[in-house]
Symmetry: C2
Subunit: 126 residues, 2 copies
């Protein structure tokens, strides 16, 4: 038995200045950059998140700019296997998360629990 | 004075069968397709949304598959102007919403209020 939940929107930005990119999205969405969050580091900037809203994180990337979804879970292996059975494929297994591709073409990540309140609104898979 | 809020994730799917596409995402996110929602029509399929989560809607598109954000507002014109001042540009003005492009490259839409609970967690712009 494990749980999973839509966790975050990652705004992947191809450009040299992740602070400038995050600055636009902070103003656009009305959520300040959280400089003290562990999700603000290196190529990542975390926006402040109301407790009952999904996380929005800005990432500097070398591929084209896009948006992707993260799914959080208390059992990454089980969740990846579940998603593979639905038709998703593994793109790469990293130390702390797994990049997958949906049968409809979008890439997304399966990550450890990150949003407060888990497993509220999460799915239970037996 | 107007308000705006991150409203929805649109999962844009390039493929002939929007029901099959929506079926994958419904299973992946654990949210059933809502056949009675007005957001389920034509090329659109709406997933059931817990009241304190963003809307997830699947859309059949002719461009490449991707994910985009919708921002809901009680004043589309004022919100578009605000976002233009931040550096976003208008791609197309439709009858009921406006397609914009962020300076970081992602397209997104400015739409009328759609999520329950508005303006909870919304931003107020004076």
């Amino acid at each position: 038995m494990h749980h999973s939940r839509l966790c975050a929107l990652l705004i992947d930005c191809n450009g040299p200045d992740v602070d400038k990119a995050a600055g636009f999205w902070a103003e656009a969405l009305g959520r300040a950059i959280d400089p003290d969050h562990p999700g603000t580091r290196g190529n990542y900037r975390m926006l402040e998140t109301p407790p009952d809203e999904p996380i929005v994180q800005i990432q500097r990337v070398s591929h084209e700019s896009r948006v992707h979804i993260d799914i959080e879970t208390d059992d990454i292996s089980a969740e990846v296997l579940r998603l593979e059975r639905l038709g998703a494929t593994v793109v790469s297994r990293l130390e702390r998360w797994v990049v997958m591709q949906a049968p409809t073409g979008q890439r997304f990540c399966v990550v450890r629990v990150q949003r407060p309140g888990f497993p509220k609104n999460a799915n239970r898979w037996d």
